[in-house]
Symmetry: C2
Subunit: 514 residues, 2 copies
């Protein structure tokens, strides 16, 4: 069986402790093993800071963008191999796997283009210069410079390729070395990506490291110039935030955590109409794509009370047609959950929802046989329900809940807001007044609002994160922000105001400190 090594200090190293086994979640067949114990993570972080940071800072944005372009091309060249690995190790259907791997390729490519557009500069000029005194000589200019630390990036199990790529692209383009830690259960894809990049010798020394296996005390090793981007559960995020070094040294932390994303059907979207069909398609896709294991998947479905029965029946019909099984088989539409732990967690979550609502399609009952399979589950709650779990417990699987509302935007907004902050919600309406009221009501609770529209061809729906738009959300979602085009760079940079004599500052900003 293959043993996954870590890439630290520019060489492949092997942990010494008891090995953890990675498996095929459809067959429970063991695929690889890994351990990070005994590895000198502190030395590897310091190597990245001392060697990788200075190397990147000597490059311009355009040059860093070229590195991303090469990374994108290298992954593209191994696409089929990576898709196969994602099917085997991730429980992904081929379509799910493409969503991950092609997402990685596209995101790297997008940031390569952003790098090209930023050109020969090595830091960002932030806004216009400003006159500070009565004479124009006294001048201020903000700039953004790369931080002098290392960017540690801890990714979730559901997007081993894309998660790596979207975080790494932002940090590398900003000028910070990347220390990536994939989730262990699905690490084979991220590990193979790393092998490919190392083989191709694309990146300067010290700029990319990979820790395979448990993260140990990695977050506790970070200092005031380091940053930590974490995607995963809110509980783990809170534990990271509570670390002594994070509290006392202001280690910059970005968290993407739980989110009870809502889809709101407007009262004008009549069953059978185009808008209604767009809504149905998005809900069904989000429930079943990657077996619902997307942080952006629709969890709460708000429908005008008078449409609740129709929507329930239409969704049930759609879900019935979803063939669940081994994703290696072509006819399979939905694969298993990623791990046994996830299966247990989803079953428990469905139980929590069921204590306050009722299942109207599927159940969390075991399906029998090998693999971490579960049926899609549609829950329903009565109008004006005071249920709390549906607004607070993210069930990370093919599970969504129907919530009837009055048909008034204010009512829908109030229900959506009970989620206490999320990554994305979607609205399906062509009624301008309804849209305006709900958008103003729920915008502060989200990082993104998807406004469904039947005329958008090839619409990816709310569940797809695009590199041009920010990804993150307030409150329960972690209060973080990633991507959003060039906005992504600011997390990896320090904004600093230069204050003084105008000619001196203009020379400095023109000359561009390395």
């Amino acid at each position: 069986m293959k043993t996954l090594h870590s890439y630290l200090g520019d060489r492949w190293v092997e942990g010494s402790g008891p090995l953890q086994t990675l498996m095929n979640p459809a067959t429970e067949e063991p695929l690889a093993q890994v351990s990070s114990e005994g590895l000198d993570v502190a030395a590897a972080l310091e190597h990245a800071r001392r060697k990788g940071g200075p190397a990147l800072r000597t490059l311009s944005f355009a040059e860093r963008g070229m590195l991303l372009k090469e990374m994108s091309k290298a992954i593209q060249a191994h696409r089929d191999e990576l898709l196969d690995l994602a099917v085997a190790n991730g429980g992904n259907t081929r379509s799910d796997a493409k969503f991950d791997v092609d997402g990685a390729i596209f995101t790297l490519q997008t940031y390569a283009e952003i790098g090209a557009s930023l050109g020969a500069a090595k830091f960002l000029v932030d806004g216009e210069g400003v006159q500070l005194g009565r004479s124009p000589r006294f001048h201020g200019q903000h700039i953004n410079v790369p931080r002098h630390g290392v960017a540690v990036q801890i990714n979730a199990f559901n997007f081993p390729a894309w998660g790596f790529a979207e975080k790494a692209a932002s940090a590398l383009l900003a000028g910070m070395p990347v220390f990536s830690k994939p989730a262990t259960s699905s690490a084979m894809v991220a590990h193979r990506v790393m092998e490919i990049l190392v083989e191709k010798k694309i990146l300067p020394e010290g700029t990319l490291s990979l820790l395979a296996g448990g993260h140990g005390d990695l977050p506790a090793l970070l200092g005031p110039q380091d940053v930590l981007a974490f995607t995963g559960s809110g509980d783990t995020g809170a534990r990271i935030r509570a670390l002594r070094n994070v509290l006392l040294e202001s280690v910059r932390v970005n968290i993407e955590a739980d989110s009870l994303n809502a889809a709101v059907l407007g009262p004008d979207a009549e069953p059978g109409g185009d808008m209604y069909e767009t809504f149905l398609k998005d809900v069904l896709r989000d429930m079943t794509q990657k077996a619902g294991q997307k942080c952006t998947a629709i969890r709460r479905v708000l429908v005008p009370a008078e449409q609740a029965v129709t929507v329930r029946n239409d969704l049930a019909e759609g879900l019935k047609a979803v063939r669940v099984g081994n994703p290696a088989l072509e006819e399979t539409r939905m694969g298993p959950l990623a791990t046994h732990a996830q299966l247990t967690d989803v079953r428990e979550g469905v139980g929590k929802l069921g204590a306050e609502g009722k299942a109207v399609f599927g159940s969390a009952a075991p399906l029998g046989g090998k693999g971490f399979f579960i049926s899609p589950v549609l829950m329903e709650f009565p109008k004006d329900s005071l249920a709390s779990a549906v607004h607070s417990r993210e069930v990370f699987g093919p599970v969504a809940s129907l919530l009837p509302y009055s048909g008034k935007a204010a009512h829908a907004a109030e229900i959506v807001a009970r989620g206490n902050g999320g990554l994305v919600s979607s609205v399906y309406s062509e009624d301008a007044a309804f849209l305006e009221e709900i958008v103003s009501g729920i915008a502060p609770y989200h990082g993104r609002l998807f406004l469904g529209h039947p005329k958008i061809e090839m619409s990816p729906g709310p569940g797809t994160v695009l590199p041009q738009l920010v990804h993150g959300g307030p409150g329960r979602a972690g209060g973080g922000e990633e991507l959003g085009g060039a906005r992504a760079l600011s997390f990896y940079m320090q904004r600093v105001a230069l204050e003084g004599s105008r000619p001196v500052i203009q020379k400095l900003v023109g000359v561009q400190p390395a």
Copy 2:
């Protein structure tokens, strides 16, 4: 004796517990008393969220700016009274008091102008719209909308007027109600400002609250739409960050904490020359203004080793001329520290510095008599000293340390960086290569770099925070950011990406949701 009341839920209320006494730090005469015990802070926060937030959100930026203008004018109309209070309760010289009160007036006025420039909009459009698909119909647009919570602002004792004004101006202009908590020891100025604003009925109901006395469990009462801006010690900041609600609900927290601000004299700045004189003036001003109780004051003075004796003698001569005494007397150049606790802390800090370096001017010995007075103290360290307290212990008084360096920019940068992140550092050099190297070396460790220049008339030096430039810093300084013109608004707003059909989004953004 006057009892300070709190303004909660749009009325003046009085705490019920044991009273704390505010005094004149020059005479130890009691001036007022206060208690916040028994006050229903949770209800007051909810009042602000339910009443103040919606009221502000119906106003445009220009209208919110008008409120700030009225606030500025009201404070201006009571300027003399406020200056007298600052002298009595803050231990400020009249010049120190102006620095605080005029800073408040100017900052409110600046944000009033920013409001006017943002015009009739109620939210901010963030960047250009972006085409997301092959057809221009699939469109994205980022906007910034006011958060739906309350902005709690906990201020430090040293700037009761300016601290209130700079935080309140940013939040109110962004569209969030303000709940202000001044430091108790110097609260008379902030309390009087509040009385003036309430008497004038400038602000809509629910938009401004004041908690006088201890903050109790205020930070623990905040939720995912609330924000907390705190200025004070790093330890208190860390305790706020470690609160359960802050960790789990991603309460947005901005911290301005400790900072070992450095001033670097370049090797080209010859004693007696204009640049050298500018440097001397800035160091002397920062050491003694407000008795060194400024978070931006110069704490570490880096000088080329060959100039160390000259600089020491020149600074000592300047400090000898500073008359310390009751700030109510016109001849006084430096008043007392704000409280007995501050005096104890500064004495302890000087002891810590003295264990690794030596005092070359003044000492922490008691001056005798009433009042919390201390002499200015200049410490000196040998070149290549491995002293640690000088880079980690912020001594919040008229105390600075001389640190000789080789004259090379890289060496100075390495020493400055040992501070682990600060609010501002300053450089005094006209050598372009030296400036470029040191700026690129220390920029990531700061929120602001002040480049001293003799040709800037009326230069305020590095210690003055200007509303147009960001104030904050990474690492030890708390990792926060305030001010910076319109940049200040983003802390009080949620960035959200609108994704969908271009005409729908353009209508929404044009129409401006309230």
